[in-house]
């Protein structure tokens, strides 16, 4: 019974997380790696030395290997939990329900399809060399990096959808020219999504512990007499307790 109630909720949560994970990946990769530089420092950025790249590369390679061959981690999982829910080498099969997935075959299929499509395009399209062209700017001159979508603007529609849940804090500062209030000099837009769990759950607990600590400080002012007094009362209390209980 518990499973029948919990299962739909769990499925919904996992599915929603999957959707948001896709959007998060596009935002992180698209804005981080594909955007134009917005500052002088970013424009002068250069690649790290190869020793630093190697460290990241090994971690990345491990991720790729695990993604293509997840069965490699199964012995470790079995050692930890006894019985794993999946089995198989290339094709992973669930043990209790019918379900199979093969990341390796899927990737291979995708690569073959890519090669086929690229080959067909090469045959069908004209052989003329690629030509460079201006980006479409509505005829308004070159587009600056400031016109591009930022991480904040990319996530804005999605944040608006989940407005009630994440409760973002919005801060818009409009400064005007001195001559006229109608002329805007600059608009500063700041949007922050504070962690609600941190604020509502951890915050009060941390405050309570801090208050307890402050109260404790009042009990221990550094006077030896008072500490001796605490010891005396503790021993007396213990003796009374022992006489009463035995």
């Amino acid at each position: 019974m518990a499973a029948t109630v919990a299962m739909p909720v769990a499925v919904a949560a996992v599915a929603l997380t999957a959707g948001l994970a896709v959007a998060t990946f596009v935002k992180a990769f698209g804005v981080g790696f594909l955007a134009k530089p917005r500052s002088e420092a970013a424009m002068a950025a250069h690649e790290s030395p190869s020793t630093m790249l190697a460290g990241m590369g090994v971690a990345g390679l491990a991720c790729v290997v695990l993604a293509l061959w997840p069965a490699g981690i199964l012995p470790a999982v079995r050692a930890a939990v006894g019985e794993a829910a999946v089995s198989g080498e290339v094709t992973l099969r669930l043990t209790h329900v019918t379900g199979a997935l093969s990341p390796l075959l899927l990737t291979l299929g995708l690569v073959v399809a890519l090669v086929v499509v690229a080959g067909v395009v090469r045959l069908a399209a004209t052989r003329r060399a690629r030509r460079e062209a201006r980006l479409w700017d509505c005829g308004g001159g070159p587009m600056s990096a400031r016109m591009e979508y930022t991480a904040t603007s990319f996530a804005e529609p999605l944040q608006r959808v989940f407005d009630d849940v994440v409760q973002p804090e919005l801060d818009v500062d409009v400064s005007h020219h001195e001559e006229s209030r109608y002329l805007v000099r600059a608009v500063a837009y700041r949007r922050k999504v504070p962690d609600r769990i941190e604020r509502r759950l951890y915050g009060p607990v941390l405050d309570m512990i801090a208050a307890w600590g402050r109260a404790g400080r009042g009990l221990a002012p550094g006077s030896v007499h008072r500490y001796l007094g605490y010891g005396f009362y503790a021993v007396c209390g213990l003796l009374i307790l022992l006489t009463v209980t035995r």
Binding site: P8, L16, G19, G30, A100, A113, L135
Partner: protein
């Protein structure tokens, strides 16, 4: 890997690649006739593709390999789905890839590649299209997963072929509450995912209303042909999945020529009828404001969730 699966793996992609531009042409023609125009003919999308293929390839300044690879990835993912999912035959050429989660992930991968290409151009249009597309995708993917998962619960398998075969064996399942709820949720989601009205207007080039068109604004020539072909194929794939998950009759369960021919005809008729219905419906609706779209998608997610709940409670 059975003979039926291999035959399906060859016939299905050929049928979908050849037929999907015709489907788009048919839908445009229906729309034109209902609006009192003559229309360009059913084969116009193929003529457009041929014209685009003959043009020279253009690289917009400041774009990287992501931009050039995205159309290929988009077509390749859709092609793999066309090979493995049950459209003409119940068996799959690559059985583990015909899984519900694999197919949904493949379709999402294509959309992600295109959104990254939109961001790669570094223009306001590309970013806008990518941002909007991802907002819609983040709400569409869960509904798609949950709705098909609801159908898979009774079967006890997430393999799409198994789901289709079990509906063939037990036709009464089609009118169960689970099926009906999941069908409504899937229809809404497919309208959103393929960029049809009222979520996105495929024929608009007005900045404020573009979603899909804004992302692909910088593409020209053969690249644009690939993007256009891929979006037509995605439409056929989604309509074909919808048709076969809920009305699987006609699909080939044996590898005889007659069964295959009936399977092909059944798919063409089903997808054609769905396309005509979709196009006819579009004549009567206006595009929704972008920020009203999540309400529609939240509604479809709720229906999908009810379908899953029903599939667990009403067994």
């Amino acid at each position: 890997m059975s003979a039926l699966g291999v035959v399906g793996g060859v016939v299905q992609p050929v049928l979908i690649v050849a037929g999907s531009p015709l489907l788009v042409g048919l839908m445009r023609q229906v729309r034109a006739r209902l609006e009192g125009r003559a229309g360009a003919g059913v084969a116009q999308p193929w003529r457009d593709l041929r014209k685009l293929m003959r043009k020279e390839q253009i690289t917009p300044r400041g774009t990287s390999e992501v931009f050039r690879l995205a159309p290929l990835v988009l077509v390749a993912t859709t092609l793999v789905v066309a090979v493995v999912a049950p459209f003409v035959t119940t068996d799959s050429a690559l059985d583990p890839a015909a899984d519900l989660f694999a197919v949904v992930a493949l379709l999402a991968l294509g959309a992600v590649a295109l959104a990254l290409a939109g961001l790669d151009t570094g223009t306001a249009f590309g970013g806008m299209g990518a941002s909007r597309e991802m907002t819609i995708l983040a709400l569409v993917e869960p509904t798609l997963l949950v709705a098909i998962f609801a159908l898979s619960v009774r079967v006890g398998s997430t393999n799409l072929g198994a789901i289709v075969s079990s509906t063939l064996d037990d036709p009464a399942r089609v009118i169960s509450p689970v099926s009906l709820l999941a069908a409504v949720a899937l229809i809404l989601v497919i309208i959103a995912e393929t960029g049809r009205l009222p979520v996105d207007n495929p024929s608009t080039h007005l900045e404020l209303t573009m979603v899909h068109e804004a992302m692909v604004l910088e593409y020209a020539g053969p690249d644009l042909a690939l993007v256009e072909l891929a979006s037509a194929m995605r439409l056929s794939v989604f309509l074909g999945l919808l048709a076969n998950l809920f009305l699987p009759w006609g699909i080939a369960a044996t590898a005889t020529p007659v069964a295959l021919l009936v399977g092909i005809l059944a798919l063409v008729v089903k997808v054609g009828v769905l396309g005509v219905l979709l196009a006819a419906g579009e004549v009567f609706v206006a595009k929704l404001r972008l920020f009203r779209v999540p309400e529609l998608l939240a509604g479809s997610f709720l229906l999908a969730l009810l379908a899953v709940a029903a599939s667990f409670f009403l067994v």
